[in-house]
C-alpha cells in the first residue's frame, strides 16, 4: 500500500430509493493488484462494481455519499462525456452472464472492435487486425476465422473469452470482473480464471474480482474484502484471511467451504438469513446470526479497524 492506489473507494454509500444498500464501503486497489470482493447474494458486491463505473441505474440507485478516486480522478464529479472516455478504455468490465452480454445481431469481431473504433479512433481495417490479436490473446484458436461468427455460434466459455477480449481491447489499468465464472461449468471456470490471471501479469492491470466463491478468491487474489449486508466486515491479505479469519462471519463462511470439511459429513451452514436492507438494526448486522455475539453487538455498530487487517467486530476470533 506504499504506492498511490489505482482505485480508492472511500466511505461509499448507495441507496435504492430510500433504502440504503451500501454503507460506508472503503477499499483500495494498488496498480497491478488483485482484490477479491466476497459476500453472499444481495450483499452489495455488484452495486459496488456498478457504482465505480457510474453505471448504477438511476433511478432507483443513488450514490448518497463518499468518494471514488480512480487514478487520482474523482469519478463522482465527472460529466458523462469524461466518464464514457474512461469506461472501456481505462476501466474494463466483465459481466456475469456471457450468454446475454453480447449483442446477438453483431459478429464478435464487430463487438470487440467497437471500443477500439471509438476510444482509439481506429478505422475498420486496423480495428479488425487488432481484434484478431485480441482473440488470440484470450485463447480463441484460429482467431481470424472466428471474427465473423455470431454470439449464438459460440459456447459459454468462448463467449466469456470474447467478453474478456472486449474488456481488454484498450488495455485498461483496472479490470472489474463481476462474477465472471458463475454461469460457466467448473472446468471452464478454471480456464477463464487462469486466463484472467495470465493477462493480468502480461498487461500489468489491477483486478477487482467480485465473487461468492471463496475457492476462487483463495487461488486468485492478493487481498480479500468480505462484505455482509452492504458493509465491508473484514479485509486482509488473502493468505492471512484464510489462515486466520477474525470476523465471525468470515469464519463461518470459511467453515461452509466443502474443502474445509471431511468428506461424508453434512456441510455446515450459517443459520438465519441476511436481513433485508430496510431491517438492518442499530448494531452489527451479523449479530442475530452470530454464535459469539455479546450484548454490545446488538446495540452498537463496530467500527472498521485500520489496515493491513481491517475488521468490523466487537468480539473477534
Amino acid at each position: 500500500m506504499a504506492e498511490a492506489p489505482l482505485l480508492a473507494v472511500e466511505s461509499l454509500s448507495v441507496a435504492m430509493g430510500v433504502t440504503p444498500v451500501l454503507e460506508d464501503v472503503s477499499f483500495r486497489i494498488a496498480p497491478g493488484e488483485t482484490l477479491g470482493l466476497v459476500g453472499e447474494s444481495g450483499c452489495g458486491k455488484s452495486v459496488t462494481a456498478l457504482s465505480i463505473m457510474r453505471l448504477l441505474p438511476n433511478p432507483p440507485g443513488r450514490i448518497i455519499g463518499g468518494r471514488i478516486l480512480f487514478d487520482g480522478t474523482d469519478m463522482l464529479s465527472l460529466d458523462i462525456g469524461a466518464l464514457r472516455a474512461i469506461r472501456g478504455d481505462r476501466i474494463g468490465m466483465i459481466f456475469q452472464e456471457p450468454m446475454t452480454s453480447l449483442n446477438p445481431v453483431y459478429t464478435i469481431g464487430d463487438q470487440i472492435g467497437e471500443s477500439l473504433i471509438f476510444h482509439r479512433g481506429m478505422n475498420g481495417r486496423t480495428a479488425r487486425s487488432e481484434t484478431a490479436k485480441l482473440l488470440d490473446l484470450v485463447g480463441i484458436p484460429a482467431a481470424r476465422n472466428q471474427l465473423d461468427r455470431y454470439p449464438h455460434e459460440l459456447s459459454g466459455g468462448q463467449r466469456q473469452r470474447v467478453m474478456i477480449a472486449i474488456a481488454l481491447a484498450c488495455r485498461p489499468r483496472l479490470l472489474i470482473a463481476d462474477e465472471p465464472t458463475t454461469a460457466l461449468d467448473v472446468t471452464v471456470q478454471a480456464q477463464i480464471l487462469d486466463l484472467i490471471g495470465r493477462l493480468r501479469h502480461e498487461l500489468g492491470m489491477a483486478v477487482l474480482l467480485i465473487t461468492h466463491d471463496l475457492g476462487v478468491v483463495a487461488e486468485f487474489c492478493d487481498r480479500v474484502a468480505v462484505m455482509y449486508a452492504g458493509r465491508i466486515v473484514e479485509e486482509a491479505p488473502a493468505a492471512q484471511l484464510f489462515k486466520q479469519p477474525r470476523h465471525r462471519y468470515t469464519e463461518a463462511l470459511l467453515h461452509t467451504m466443502p474443502a474445509a470439511n471431511p468428506p461424508g459429513r453434512k456441510l455446515p451452514s450459517i443459520s438465519g438469513t441476511v436481513p433485508a436492507p430496510a431491517d438492518r438494526g442499530e448494531g452489527c448486522i451479523f449479530a442475530p446470526r452470530c454464535g459469539f455475539a455479546i450484548p454490545r453487538c446488538a446495540n452498537e455498530l463496530p467500527p472498521l479497524t485500520e489496515p493491513p487487517h481491517r475488521l468490523r467486530c466487537w468480539n473477534p476470533a
Partner: protein, 292 residues
Amino acid sequence: MTTAAPAAATTILPPRRLIARTLGAPGAVAGSIILAVLVFGAIFAPLLSPFDPNATRVCPRLAAPSFTHFFGCDLFGRDIFSRILYGARLSLAVGLLTVAISLVAGTIFGMVIAFLGGRVDRIGVRLLDVMLGFPAIVLAILIVAVLGVGAFNAALAVGISGIPRIARVIRSATLTLVGREFVESARAVGASQTRILRRHLLPNLLPIVIVLGSLDLGGAILSTATLSFLGLGAQPPTSEWGAMLSAGREFMRYAPWTMIFPGLALFLAVMSVNLVGDRLSHVLDPRASGHG
C-alpha cells in the same frame, strides 16, 4: 435463469434464406405472385396500358368490357384497364410512403421514450394513448382537414395516424431490450446514448419493424383509398382506385365494371400484401418458427 426467453425477435437470417423460408407456404406464394404482377403492372404502366389513362372518349361512355377495352370504360369514355394500371402505381407508392412515415416516426418515438424511461416515457405513453383514442381513419380525416386534400397529404395523414400503433409496439419491444445485459455492457465500454440506440437497439428491433411494416402496408393502401373515395385523397383526373370506386358508384347498376375492377384491384393488392406480411411475421418470430 440463464435461459430467459428471447425478448425480441432476433433471428438472424441471411436474405436469401429469409426469402426461401417466406415462400415456404402456399398462401405466401400466391400473395407474392399477385403482388409481383401488380408491381410489374405499376412499374411498366406506360408500356402496358393500351390507352392514355386520362384521355377521354377513347371508347363509348360506360362501354362494357371487350377485347379492346379489357375492363370496360367509365363515364368519360376512359379506358378502365389503363387507369387501373396507373392506379397501381399511385396506390403502391402512396402505401409505401404511408408505411415509411409511420414506421420511421413510430420506431424513433417508441424507442426513444422506452430508452429514456421515467418521465419522458410516462408523457410519451399518455400522448400515444390520446392518439389511439381516436379511430385512425377519423384522425386521418382530421389531419387532411388541416393539411388540405391531395394524394400526398392523404399519405401523410394516414402515415401520421399510424404512428401510435407502431410506437406502442416498438416501445414495449425496446423495454425488454434495454434491460438486457448487452446494453449494459455497451455502456460499460463507454458507448454513448445515441450509439446504443442506433447500434445496439435498432438492429435488434428490425425484425419487428419489418413485420409491422409488412402487416401495415395493406391497411395503409386501404386507408388512403378510403380517403380518396371520400374525395379527400387523390383528386380528379388522377387515376386512383378509391376515387374510381367513388366515381363508379352512381352507375353500379348499369355499368358494374366501373366498380368491380377497381374494387378487385384493391382487394387483390391488400390481400397479397397481407398474405406475404403474415408469412413474414411467422418466419421472423423465433417462437412461431421454432428457432430461439
